[in-house]
């Protein structure tokens, strides 16, 4: 992979992303080198998951008329596939998301690889290119006991391809390594010693991952994966020695402070939605930076707006641009849900009708809005002028890009949100209505067909086979 690029980003810019004045585009000072224009466009596979569901009602009528309003600028960039049938309830829905696979009860893994993995290995049959074969980040803020809600990319074992980084500093560290703490001379000396250590360690791994190690193929692959990760380590121990792609400074850890405080629904230190959004933007910007630097070609964003029972404080802008305060929102449903939390408000939706349902839906929408805002921020980054590649198109235009949600209204799989990039004009754009009963599996097979990749394994798939007309150009 070519790394001959330079991106400049000042400390001031990064801090602006972390601070209160985030209105300016975070990446405005990132300037890819002119040489970038001469390079071929690499195949990339990127996904974003809006975990927790997007109600079917918000996709009805004017698709961009409510929660999805921030995505309107991308109407000509993505196919918003409306009316897809996924699976109901968390377990089955998460198992089927991006896999098309059926579910094994109580087992928090899936039975098939995610299609991003299938496509990535189709593009790179000899192995995903480094230095970061996979990069994920997430705004989910609490530990999950269900791996399917944390690990969104699964290989053909199937095992998680990796876990997302859930804090800016962790993501930064994965991309840029440890920041130097010594003088340049000391750092240079230490880097040389570190490189020697890494070489010695890699030699040991090569031995066991090779024929001489005498291990099973699965074991050799596991050790080989470890070697791949040591490529990150190699960069890390070398200080910020990324070839031609300068790093910003380490995001301050103050942002991490609220991570542990986000969940308690009965705690006055409830999660501040503004802090959440600032952190999410910083992580998104770092992810985009890694893509522009061509450090990774396979990655995903887990954009959970809030843990299940969390309660926001602060305010968010609704589809009409009005600031809505969460305390007021919670009060508006206090007769229906004593906590006013996201999870139970979501559960109210099938239980009420008319005015009460509308109130609950309004509150549920406000809880979902930050996740959609972050998706829009990711799309902006991938589609910004700085993301234009040698063919004149942006990373968003060129990559295989999926934005998905596992559920629709409440815990219902009817009308799950799925948006698909054009992948180099292979797919149509705009809001695409699919026939009743069309399943996510059929969409996945449609996309896999476009790249001559293996379809979802019919032995483990749910729903009827087939592909969807009108999605491919």
């Amino acid at each position: 992979m070519t790394k001959n690029r330079t991106i400049r980003l000042s400390r001031r810019t990064l801090l602006r992303g972390l601070g209160a004045t985030v209105a300016l585009p975070f990446l405005e000072e990132m300037r890819p080198r002119a040489a970038k224009a001469q390079e071929a466009v690499p195949p990339r596979v990127l996904t974003a998951t809006l975990g927790g569901g997007l109600a079917k009602e918000w996709q009805a009528g004017d698709y961009f008329g409510s929660v999805l309003a921030p995505l309107r600028p991308f109407e000509e960039k993505l196919a918003f596939v409306r009316g897809l049938q996924g699976r109901d309830n968390h377990g089955p829905a998460n198992a089927a998301l991006m896999t098309g696979a059926d579910w094994i009860k109580d087992v928090p893994v899936t039975t098939a690889p995610t299609i991003d993995w299938t496509l990535a290995t189709r593009f790179y049959p000899e192995g995903l290119p480094g230095p970061l074969p996979f990069l994920g980040y997430g705004t989910r803020i609490r530990r999950e006991e269900n791996l399917l809600q944390v690990a969104r990319a699964w290989d053909d074992t199937p095992s998680p391809v990796g876990f997302p980084h859930f804090t800016p500093s962790a993501l930064f560290r994965a991309i840029f390594g440890r920041p130097p703490t010594q003088s340049a001379e000391e750092a240079a000396g230490e880097a040389a010693a570190d490189a020697t250590v890494v070489d010695a360690v890699l030699d040991q791994y090569r031995h066991f991952a090779g024929d001489a190690g005498g291990l099973s193929m699965a074991s050799r692959r596991r050790l080989s994966d470890h070697m791949d990760q040591i490529q990150s380590l190699e960069r890390a121990v070398g200080g910020l020695a990324l070839e031609g792609c300068d790093a910003p400074e380490l995001p301050p850890d103050v942002v991490l402070g609220f991570i542990d405080d986000i969940e308690p629904r009965n705690d006055p230190r409830r999660s501040d939605v503004g802090t959440f959004l600032r952190q999410g933007r910083v992580m998104t910007d770092l992810f985009v930076l890694a893509l522009r630097c061509d450090l990774t070609r396979f990655g995903h964003a887990v954009l959970f707006p809030l843990a299940a029972h969390g309660i926001w404080r602060g305010s968010v802008r609704d589809a009409a641009g009005r600031l809505v305060d969460f305390d007021a929102l919670r009060a508006s449903v206090s007769d229906l849900n004593r906590h006013g939390d996201w999870h139970n408000t979501n559960h109210l939706l099938p239980r009420h009708a008319g005015e009460a349902r509308e109130r609950a839906l309004t509150v549920a929408a406000a809880y979902r809005q930050p996740g959609v805002d972050l998706l829009a921020h990711l799309l902006e980054g991938l589609d910004a002028p700085e993301s234009v590649e040698s063919n004149g198109r942006t990373i968003l235009d060129n990559a295989v890009f999926f934005a998905v949600s596992e559920l629709a209204t409440n815990h219902d799989g009817d009308g799950v949100f799925h948006a698909l990039g054009t992948a180099g004009e292979r797919f149509r754009t705009g809001v695409l209505d699919v026939p009743a009963g069309a399943t996510t599996r059929q969409l996945y097979d449609t996309v896999l067909d476009a790249f001559d990749a293996p379809r979802v394994n019919p032995d483990v798939a749910f729903g009827a086979p087939g592909t969807l007309a009108g999605v491919r150009r």
Partner: protein, 536 residues
């Protein structure tokens, strides 16, 4: 997955609360089973043949971060900073599941930080040679490494391996490092070597040597760290079950055995849930409550040698701090010491530990989650998932007491089929609030109740009046020991149990019951079974 089950509606009508032992088959969707609540749930006949064949290692295992830190600390005699290691992903509560022990970026970078900090600390302390004579050349370094590497690799390093690190030392000196720094840096490479981080206990790194592998298995299962010198010395004998039993019983007497019991309690009792919940609003306090619950399990299982089920009728608590003592309603109890609560009918051993109550009750419907915990994780009964299209609407009023809401569910035709079976299990816990505090009146002003009924394995109903009665009823149920045993086997094997394990499980269970249903009986039954030693 905590939020999956509210009202199971038509699912129960369709598939019933089947009472079948859980651990679902992998590779096939679950099949509905006929209703058979309270039916006997024995495993297959233990006289089956060819035991243990399904447990040979197919995939090299990475040490968990905790195992790694404990092994390194034991080897070097100096603790590292475990906070530098990445949090381990957990599968159904346990951190050592082979499917999640992945070499993620977080793990690899955490190991690098941990190793660096440790060797930097050795240098700063002026002890980079771990009390041995310093080296000035590669030959000396190779010898030094042969001494140091044995506990790290869980086997003596080969001459070639030692020589490799001698060469590394010389290369570092040639690059201009002082001998001390070069020695510490070479040690860092050893800490990051695959032989340290992965279970590669072959004598030359080519083939797994069964005895050494067995020694490591026994050590990690019983003590959570690599084998000590005695175990390594006895490795050649470990193919004999009697030798494994003797070693296991010896290791159970070491302080490190408590580490594994803590991990077992952590996963089984859902204490890991508190990592993201902070029910007390203070993560440090939460951890003290977790540690208090773990201390109780340790006391019953290791110190008292009680049956596994005895944790539900322990008549003492072990608060680890003053504020934990207050939360446990034994204010003034010395931290870390037992305080009797005999005669207190509001206690049910581990069931009324605040950490467990918070981990299973951090929801708007704590009664359901606590009942499901008891039904699934203590009795090993199975609850079907709601079928497609089900809603989770609750019958009754949200301002009713938990008990009244439950009775509304039970009376509801759709919900009642299952909820009527498992909800009553937690009736005795209704007074305990979100973070385990006792309440006579709930947040809606309703009086709380403690009475209920317990349906045993034979289908006999036992009425109870209070938490103590509930704990006694649970502790008297024959399903409990076998259910907890399954969790211990899962921890020992580091993977989910499968249908094909039924024969091995039945044999282990038979031996466990024969030995008295204690934790020690479980450990001995597991390590002496043929499944514990890999065979070629």
């Amino acid at each position: 997955m905590r939020v999956l089950v509210r009202c199971l509606v038509a699912g129960l009508v369709a598939v019933g609360c089947d009472g079948v032992i859980q651990e679902p088959p992998r590779g096939a969707p679950d099949a509905p089973s006929p209703p058979s609540v309270g039916a006997p749930r024995d495993l297959p006949d233990p006289s089956c043949t060819d035991p243990g064949r399904g447990n040979a290692p197919e995939l090299v295992r990475r040490l968990t971060q905790a195992e790694y830190a404990a092994t390194v600390e034991a080897a070097l005699g100096m603790p590292g900073d475990p906070s530098l290691l990445a949090p381990e992903a957990r599968m159904q509560g346990f951190a050592n599941d082979q499917s999640t022990l992945l070499p993620t970026q977080q793990v690899v970078l955490g190991l690098a930080d941990y190793a660096r900090a440790l060797t930097d600390a050795l240098l700063a302390a002026g002890d980079p040679w771990l009390g041995r004579a310093p080296c000035a050349d590669g030959t000396c370094m190779a010898r030094w490494m042969q001494d140091v590497a044995t506990p790290l690799f869980r086997r003596p390093p080969s001459a070639a391996e030692a020589e490799t690190f001698g060469e590394l030392f010389e290369a570092l000196v040639a690059e201009g490092l002082e001998a001390d720094a070069a020695g510490a840096t070479t040690l860092r490479a050893r800490l990051l070597a695959p032989q340290t981080g992965y279970r590669l206990e072959g004598d030359d790194g080519v083939a797994l040597r069964l005895a050494l592998d067995g020694a490591s298995r026994a050590a990690f299962f019983v003590t959570g760290r690599g084998p000590d010198a005695s175990l390594l010395a006895a490795a050649a004998e470990l193919m004999a079950p009697e030798a494994r039993e003797a070693q296991a019983r010896r290791l159970l007497r070491t302080p490190e055995a408590g580490r594994v019991v803590d991990e077992l309690a952590y996963g089984w009792l859902h204490l890991d849930t508190l990592e993201g919940l902070t029910p007390t609003g203070d993560a440090g306090f939460d951890q003290e409550l977790v540690a208090s619950a773990q201390a109780l399990v340790r006391a019953v299982w290791l110190e008292d040698g009680g049956a596994l089920r005895d944790v539900f009728r322990a008549d003492y608590v072990v608060p680890v701090s003053a504020r934990a003592a207050r939360r446990l309603r034994v204010e003034g109890a010395p931290p870390g010491e037992r305080r009797s609560v005999a005669g207190d009918r509001s206690r049910a051993g581990i069931l009324t530990e605040p950490a467990l109550l918070a981990g299973t009750g951090a929801d708007s419907f704590p009664l359901i989650h606590r009942a499901l915990f008891l039904y699934r994780d203590v009795l090993c009964e199975s609850v079907p998932e709601p079928p497609p299209g089900v809603t989770e609407a609750q019958p009754g009023s949200p301002t009713d007491s938990e008990r009244v809401q439950s009775e509304s569910r039970a009376a509801d035709g759709a919900c009642g089929a299952c909820h009527a079976v498992f909800d009553p299990l937690a009736y005795g816990l209704e007074p305990f609030g979100f973070s385990g505090e006792w309440r006579d009146i709930d947040v809606h002003g309703n009086a709380t109740r403690t009475d209920g009924v317990f349906l045993d394995a034979a289908g006999v109903t036992h009425a109870y009046a209070d938490p103590r009665g509930l704990g006694d009823a649970i502790a008297g149920d024959a399903r409990v020991d076998s259910c907890v045993l399954r969790r211990i086997v899962r921890l020992a094997w580091g993977r989910a149990l499968e249908v094909s394990d039924a024969c091995d499980l039945a044999q282990i269970r038979a031996r466990f019951l024969e030995l008295g249903s204690t934790y020690e009986a479980a450990v001995v039954a597991i390590v002496t079974h043929p499944s514990f030693i890999a065979t070629d």
